[in-house]
């Protein structure tokens, strides 16, 4: 027995596939660059993230830059996500990074970890592994011995979230 193939079907599928692909691309490119700590937050989650950052800095809005977050932009498993934080600094007694805090937007708690450095650390750099409940923004904030705050935001997409298994 043979199955009659509608000659018009295959091209129509291609067209739909094409539209689907275009739509996916549009979704990816249109992801909002929310939670920039310098601009007003647009969602409750972003506002909570900003509040957590300000609580840690004592109300000082950190300047963007200097601090680096090294994390994969596309995370396959949110249960253990490698992340590295670093900031260039001479790490002398007069001029060093005293702490780097990491915050998230959509886990149950805003704080992830706070790392404290001393001149003895030699480098203001730390690598660890964290949990991510879903695709979200991460914000890292560094505090220097002069009392200045620097921050960096990064957007990560998580395909398998943490905290979903029983």
């Amino acid at each position: 027995m043979t199955i009659a193939v509608d000659p018009g079907q295959a091209p129509r599928r291609r067209v739909l596939l094409g539209w689907g692909a275009a739509g996916a691309c549009a979704l990816l490119t249109l992801r909002p660059l929310s939670a920039q700590t310098t601009s007003a937050p647009t969602t409750p989650e972003a506002a909570a993230l900003r509040a957590a950052v300000l609580a840690w800095t004592g109300g000082v809005t950190p300047r963007q830059g200097r601090l680096e977050i090294d994390i994969a932009p596309l995370v396959e498993n949110g249960n253990s996500v490698p992340v590295a934080l670093s900031m260039p600094s001479p790490m002398t007694a007069e001029d060093h990074v005293t702490a780097i805090a990491l915050f998230n937007e959509r886990n149950p708690q805003r704080e992830v970890a706070v790392f404290h450095f001393t001149p003895r650390s030699g480098l203001a750099q730390v690598a660890t592994r964290i949990r991510l409940a879903t695709s979200q923004t991460l914000t890292a904030v560094a505090r220097t011995s002069e009392g200045a705050f620097w921050s960096r935001d990064v957007e990560v997409i998580v395909t398998l979230a943490a905290c979903i298994e029983s």
Partner: protein, 106 residues
């Protein structure tokens, strides 16, 4: 006692900044999960990690449930002379563990 894995370079030159890597076998139970009967699983996390070099604080971390199980940290120490490095983890349910390693400066 939880199993730990601590990597310290075999030797360092005076003034060199060397990397230290540590992990500890700890579940970092978040307190946000429930068991098969739907009962909440109580939180059991490490709250603090610190590294000292001959008693002088090198690096410390405050930890929250978002730190993954088997917490791993890679950080640095400026080696000046041979010293004893101590690594301490403290957490819920009275958890406290300290390991020491020698830092050889030659």
């Amino acid at each position: 006692m939880a199993r730990t894995l601590i990597h310290v370079p075999e030797r360092a030159r005076a003034g060199e900044v060397v990397e230290l890597r540590v992990t500890i076998a700890h579940p970092m139970e978040t307190g946000y999960r429930s068991d098969n009967e739907g009962r909440p699983v109580p939180r059991d996390i490490l709250r603090r990690f610190s590294c000292r070099c001959d008693g002088e604080l090198v690096f410390s971390a405050e930890l929250f449930p978002a730190v993954a199980a088997y917490p791993y940290f890679a950080f640095h120490v400026r080696a000046t002379r041979s010293a004893s490095l101590s690594f301490t983890w403290e957490g819920d349910q009275g958890f406290a563990q300290t390991e020491t390693r020698a830092l050889v400066v030659a």
